[in-house]
């Protein structure tokens, strides 16, 4: 018999360590929520909160895909441009008179762009940062080219409820976002695919030696994000009843901020779906709350940037210390 090798670590510190990102963003969210409720009368009203939940829906939706991408250790900078292209494409395609086909084709455009990003990254072995940076530029160009910079109105009574419909007090975009979060959470935490996403970011070589084709995983996460970005384009266009090629400018940065705020590591291997959702909501209440406080609107990105730095600092420093102390 070998000497027993015992391991005694607190299950509680293990839990805190693994969910530190979610816990810290939840605290930040709660603090901001209380602050805005106390300072801005209009903040804590059903109408306002329902509106915030609708405004932030596209960010939440794409943040789900981005969590997968970043957890594999990659990044997708093209999502904002995909929103612009698909918002325009939906409006143009809807004019042909078949809104269902327009919807399907728009989602397929997102999937196709994701597939190109994924093929170049996974099979072409190019860095996702470079590939999607090129896509960011090129796809925005395509959107401007096909629209010549003009917005295209959407009049389809089938499509408009996607952005403006209301069910049980919440707008359709909010319901879409909730559904996507639930599905993304299930797949990420409960299925083999979700586990492989984490494994690719943690130690891709180990996964490859286990007989898994890691390139398929790397490509799949970028396709998923492309489709979700198209979804965000659809939500944005139908809410405004118009598809604009300028939709989604700087959107990729907001999404990445939300994901990183939620505790997902840019180094890969550690991601949190719930954290990303709360991170997006936090960005939502910051811009909403500051507007209600009549703060100059130009302060919004400044405050978001500062919050990001503080959150990252807390995550890396405190989390690093927590892990070290448990070694």
């Amino acid at each position: 018999m070998s000497k027993p090798y015992r391991l005694s670590r607190g299950a509680r510190s293990e839990f805190i360590g693994r969910h530190f990102g979610v816990l810290s963003i939840s605290v930040v969210f709660a603090a901001l929520f209380i602050f805005f409720s106390a300072r801005a009368d209009a903040f804590l009203t059903a109408e306002n909160l329902v509106n915030v939940a609708r405004q932030i829906a596209p960010t939440v939706v794409v943040a789900m895909g981005m969590t997968y991408v970043i957890t594999t250790g990659a990044i997708d900078l093209s999502v904002g441009s995909i929103v612009g292209l698909t918002a325009s494409a939906l409006a143009i395609l809807a004019k042909t008179g078949n809104p269902v086909l327009a919807l399907v084709l728009t989602l397929l455009i997102g999937a196709a762009i994701g597939a190109i990003n994924g093929a170049l990254t996974a099979y072409g072995r190019l860095q996702s940062f470079i590939v999607t940076l090129a896509a960011l530029t090129a796809i925005r160009g395509v959107a401007l080219l096909i629209t010549q910079g003009y917005s295209t109105p959407i009049e389809s009574s089938f499509l408009l409820p996607l952005g403006n419909g209301k069910l049980l007090g919440l707008y359709t975009p909010t319901w879409i976002a909730i559904a996507i979060v639930v599905i993304a959470w299930y797949v990420f935490t409960r299925t083999r695919f979700g586990r492989y996403v984490t494994a690719v970011g943690s130690n891709a070589e180990s996964l490859r030696r286990s007989g898994v084709d890691i390139r398929r995983i790397q490509m799949a996460v970028l396709i998923i994000t492309g489709v979700l970005a198209a979804g965000a384009g659809i939500i944005t266009a139908t809410r405004l009843a118009s598809g604009s090629s300028n939709s989604g400018t700087m959107f990729e940065l907001e999404v990445i901020t939300a994901v990183v705020l939620g505790g997902t590591s840019l180094m890969g291997g550690r991601g949190s779906i719930l954290g990303s959702a709360i991170g997006a909501l936090t960005l939502g209440i910051i811009s909403n709350g500051l507007v209600l406080l009549r703060v100059d609107v130009y302060w919004v990105p400044i405050v978001q940037g500062i919050i990001l730095i503080v959150a990252i600092f807390l995550n890396s420093k405190l989390f690093g210390r927590l892990v070290r102390s448990r070694r």
């Binding site: 018999m1 070998s2 000497k3 027993p4 090798y5 015992r6 391991l7 005694s8 670590r9 299950a11 293990e14 360590g17 693994r18 797949v187 409960r190 299925t191 083999r192 695919f193 586990r195 984490t198 494994a199 970011g201 943690s202 130690n203 070589e205 180990s206 996964l207 030696r209 286990s210 007989g211 898994v212 291997g269 550690r270 892990v323 448990r326 070694r327």
Partner: protein, 256 residues
């Protein structure tokens, strides 16, 4: 010392070989790394493969594990020639190698690492059967006398010895015929070295042949049935641990 070129333990040598490597040659450009190596491994035997840096130990074992292809020579497992190439083909022939760099995913828990690539899940809901995998993982660790009480712990937070034990346990769950370990005790605390060496004995007692590459020669005396000394790409000597001491082994490694 110089007379002991035949396999040491006569009883082991008489049973049919598990692995036979014949006339293995490999060169990288002008550099001949392996110059005709013959090596047989008996079932359940623990071989200490030693030699100076660049003697060809790792290259030889990577060939067995399918990570390298020999220029010449053949590899037989249980009398059958190894077909195909790559780690998958080697695994199909019952060869597992645990690499020095510890092929574990730090962010996954013990069970997830043990089952990586072989997850059990419900085919309808795609939901991972985590409870069952945790139970089986705990069982497997218990069989190998590895006391890890919480299989839900992330391996990134564990000690080097525990991680090495998990990496070996993972290889053993593939039910290999031969297990190749590359520097399993490097950078471990003394107590942890003991644990890993005991694990190697347990694995070989199951009938699994073990090839151990290590620079910690004192470890070999504890577990090895036979020393195979490589020198400049050839087998220089095969020594019996019972009839060899540390200085004898070091002398052989220097090609004398």
């Amino acid at each position: 010392m110089s007379t002991s070129t035949q396999p040491a333990a006569a009883t082991i040598a008489e049973s049919p070989p598990r692995v036979e490597m014949r006339g293995i040659r490999k060169s990288y450009g002008a550099l001949d790394v392996l110059r005709g190596v013959d090596l047989t491994i008996a079932p359940g035997e623990v071989i200490g493969l030693v030699g100076d840096n660049g003697a060809g130990k790792s290259t030889l074992m990577k060939m067995l594990a399918g990570a390298e292809t020999p220029d010449r020579g053949e590899i037989l497992v249980d009398g059958e020639a190894m077909t195909g190439s790559g780690p998958r083909a080697a695994r199909a022939h019952g060869i597992e190698m645990v690499y020095q760099d510890l092929a574990l995913c730090d962010h996954l828990d013990v069970t997830a690492n043990l089952f990586l690539g072989r997850e059990k899940f419900n085919s309808l809901t795609r939901r991972l059967d985590t409870d069952r995998m945790h139970d089986e993982a705990a069982d497997e660790l218990r069989k190998l006398h590895i006391r890890i009480t919480n299989t839900r712990q992330e391996v990134g937070n564990m000690s080097g010895g525990q991680r090495q034990a998990i990496a070996i346990a993972r290889a053993v769950t593939f039910d290999p015929k031969v297990l190749v370990l590359d520097e399993p005790t490097a950078a471990l605390a003394a107590k942890e070295v003991e644990m890993v060496l005991q694990l190697i004995k347990d694995v070989s007692a199951r009938g699994v042949s073990v090839v151990l590459i290590t620079h910690r020669l004192q470890d070999l005396f504890e577990v090895a049935d036979r020393f195979v000394v490589l020198y400049e790409g050839t087998i220089h000597q095969e020594l019996d641990p019972a009839k060899t001491d540390l200085s004898g082994l070091v002398t052989a490694m220097m090609g004398k």
